[in-house]
């Protein structure tokens, strides 16, 4: 192998095969998927402006390093049996997301269907402010910097986050979510991929609603 042109062309050609197969092909095949028509509109639904802003907050603070967003098929894993979703997630589930956060770690639970398991906005605020309040033993960091603690004006704000125990604000103070926290929770509440798609019906009729399993987040 002493000839530069041969080496040069070989190096680039071999690499080009993977570029075509793993980059260009999915780009052409999956890059332009459209929502699927359903009884009440199209799935997945468009995201609100707040949710799109919240997606940026999710990215900025690196939620993806502990939380995946993918439900693997039942033949491969126990994701569905664990209650992380009624069906495998497919490419169409992600078309609204920029970028998608498939994730590679489950230091914390999968979030594909967190809005189905935890539909309550207040729960999310409490959890982000101080995870241990709602999940004892959690190793999730506190996102207190997405909240402000300020003196109660004439009467408690409607949005004040109830926090009790050792992490409660001092008397006369209340915890209020910032715009970033409101956006982030708006985003988290879009994470609900339980609608049927033509290419991914739930494997079996759902025997029970996706509910928090064993009081897990």
């Amino acid at each position: 192998m002493n000839r530069l042109p041969l080496l040069f062309v070989g190096i680039l050609l071999v690499f080009a095969t993977s570029w075509l197969g793993l980059v260009v092909y999915p780009y052409l095949k999956l890059g332009g998927l459209e929502p699927a028509a359903s009884a009440d509109g199209a799935e997945p639904r468009p995201m609100s402006a707040a949710a799109i802003a919240g997606e940026r907050v999710y990215a900025a603070n690196g939620c993806v390093y502990c939380h995946s967003q993918q439900v693997r098929p039942a033949w491969l894993s126990t994701d569905i049996a664990r209650g992380w979703g009624p069906r495998q997630t497919v490419a169409r589930d992600y078309i609204r997301q920029k970028p998608s956060f498939l994730g590679t770690m489950r230091t914390g639970p999968d979030l594909t269907n967190i809005a189905a398991r935890q539909p309550d906005r207040t729960w999310h605020y409490q959890h982000l402010y101080e995870p241990a309040v709602v999940t004892p033993g959690s190793v999730m960091p506190s996102f207190r910097f997405l909240f402000t603690v300020q003196p109660v004006k004439d009467r408690p704000s409607r949005e004040a986050v109830p926090v009790s125990g050792p992490h409660a604000p001092p008397p006369g103070y209340e915890v209020l979510p910032t715009q970033e926290a409101r956006d982030l929770v708006a985003y988290l509440l879009t994470l609900k991929h339980d609608y049927p798609l033509p290419e991914a019906e739930p494997n079996a009729p759902r025997a029970e609603p996706i509910a928090p399993k064993k009081s897990e987040p």
């Binding site: 192998m1 002493n2 080496l7 040069f8 070989g10 190096i11 071999v14 690499f15 095969t17 570029w19 197969g21 793993l22 980059v23 092909y25 999915p26 780009y27 095949k29 999956l30 890059g31 998927l33 990215a59 900025a60 603070n61 690196g62 993806v64 390093y65 995946s68 993918q70 693997r72 098929p73 491969l76 126990t78 664990r82 209650g83 997630t89 497919v90 169409r92 992600y94 078309i95 609204r96 997301q97 920029k98 970028p99 998608s100 498939l102 994730g103 590679t104 770690m105 489950r106 230091t107 241990a132 033993g137 959690s138 960091p141 506190s142 996102f143 207190r144 910097f145 897990e216 987040p217």
Partner: protein
């Protein structure tokens, strides 16, 4: 072989010309290579500290808690990007251009431009790191630097890559050595990888799940087609150099090179087994991952047969000991990687600390170790001084080796147990968190050993550049070499 025989023949006149030529090449590369090494070591120190902080935060949730710049989700990518771009890429570039200069026997022109490119590279890493900590990351793994920092890195690399290709183009006629194939390939593959990933993920982001495919095509190939070829090029150079005999088989080298290029480039999708992609893409990556047995065993056999009968050199030579440990870890971590790509295994352990342990074993146990080995060989030739302390080199070696063994061992085992909990649908999620905790503590101790090792090495490097310590005529060895019986 004929060259070796010729050099052993007492009738062969000494070759002062080639010694002068080597000195000339070393002198011309001194500035750029030392600049890349020095800046890389500085980033290694910062990266180690941030890695320690991220590791501690997983077990001590209250540590520096509730501050946006230092939240886990920013410190972790800052650590990763610093060690990938600030340390590993920069030290790889330094080793790569030195090897290229020596093997092509060319004196590069305009080396000021190389130093300028290095400075720009470091500015890009600095800007990107600040961007991550300030909350500008898009959370695309291995590409967290914001879109305004990555073009800086690309421009810098384009210049560096062009220089290495020019060196190869104007090489002195003669045999092209296996290290040169790997280096030429690495310096051509990386800009293609980086440009594709930047265009499709940052500047004109693709839709939905395509992000995952491009992301892991990029991420895995940075490891497989950028760091790995540089590490192997270095091992292919250092092992024969230190023990003084040629590589065992030219044909195994060829097989190892082309099979690596073919199979490694298709590995990426094994990060997404069970993910929202066409089945054939994932199957192709699983097959390619298992086929990695071929290049890995080929290189392992070739290195082993080269070393056979010369293992006692490991007692003396720091270069050889770091390099051989790295090369052995390469075999180990690659075979582990092939097994981890098998879907039924992957389903159990993919989302756990197991993967983190594997990543550190590859990037540290293999790549970083071979780079340390290379620097122990190259730096004395650049500064005209011998390493000032064998004791410090011993400390560096044993701290680094025990640190990575503890870290990778703890995470591999802890991740195994964590995976079993995660995949038992009747086990509450917190079980998987609790069972991993003691292993995460062990990882912290491993990380601490590594961090100390890096400070020891940084002190050594600094003394070297300042030419401190006694003047020596002989290379610094772990222990004085006994005269042959």
């Amino acid at each position: 072989m004929s060259e070796l025989l010729r050099s052993l023949d007492p009738n062969t006149p000494p070759d002062p010309q080639s010694a002068v030529e080597r000195a000339e090449i070393d002198r011309s590369l001194r500035g750029p290579v030392l600049f890349f090494f020095g800046s890389a070591i500085a980033w290694l120190l910062l990266g180690s500290v941030l890695g320690m902080l991220a590791a501690l935060k997983m077990t001590h949730v209250r540590l520096l808690d509730g501050q946006d710049w230092l939240t886990f989700g920013r410190v972790r990518p800052a650590h990763l990007n610093i060690v990938i771009y600030g340390w590993a890429s920069a030290v790889g570039i330094g080793v790569g251009i030195w090897l290229m200069g020596r093997l092509c026997r060319v004196v590069p022109r305009h080396r000021g431009l190389l130093i300028a490119a290095g400075a720009v590279w470091n500015l890009g890493v600095l800007a990107g790191t600040i961007g991550i900590l300030a909350g500008q990351s898009r959370s695309i793994e291995w590409l967290e630097f914001p879109g305004w920092a990555t073009p800086v890195l690309f421009a810098s690399f384009a210049l560096i890559g062009t220089w290495t290709v020019i060196m190869f183009r104007f090489r002195r006629p003669g045999h092209v050595y296996v290290s040169q194939w790997y280096l030429l390939a690495a310096f051509l593959w990386f800009p293609w990888l980086y440009a594709t990933a930047n265009v499709l993920l940052i500047w004109q982001p693709v839709q939905g799940s395509v992000v995952g495919a491009v992301n892991w095509w990029y991420g895995h190939n940075v490891l497989g087609l950028w760091f790995t070829p540089i590490g192997l090029a270095s091992a292919y150079y250092m092992i024969p150099k230190v023990i003084g005999r040629p590589i065992h088989s030219y044909y195994l080298s060829i097989l190892g090179f082309w099979s690596l290029a073919l199979f490694y480039s298709w590995n990426g999708m094994h990060h997404l087994i069970g993910g929202p992609f066409p089945a054939w893409m994932i199957s192709a990556s699983v097959v390619a991952s298992v086929m990695m047995f071929i290049p890995v065993l080929t290189v392992a056999i070739n290195h082993h047969l080269t070393m056979r009968g010369h293992f006692e050199y490991l007692k003396w030579s720091p270069t050889l000991r770091f390099t051989v440990l790295g090369a052995m870890t390469y075999t180990l971590v690659s075979l582990q990687g092939s097994l981890m790509a098998i879907p039924s295994v992957n389903a159990l352990f993919h989302f756990t600390d197991h993967t983190v342990g594997h990543a550190h074993l590859g990037l540290y146990g293999f790549f970083t170790m071979t780079m340390f080995g290379a620097m122990y060989y190259i730096v004395p030739r650049l500064v005209g001084w011998e390493w000032p302390s064998a004791r410090m080199i011993r400390w560096h070696f044993w701290l680094a080796a025990s640190g990575i063994a503890l870290m990778a061992g703890a995470l591999t085992l802890g991740g195994f147990l964590q995976g079993l909990e995660l995949n038992d649908p009747d086990s509450p999620f917190m079980n998987s968190v609790n069972i991993a905790r003691p292993f995460r503590h062990a990882r912290e101790i491993g990380g601490l050993l590594l961090t100390i090792a890096h400070f020891v090495f940084a002190a050594l490097f600094l003394r070297m550049v300042l030419r401190r310590g006694p003047r020596q005529d002989e290379a610094t060895l772990f222990s004085p070499r006994l005269p042959a019986a």
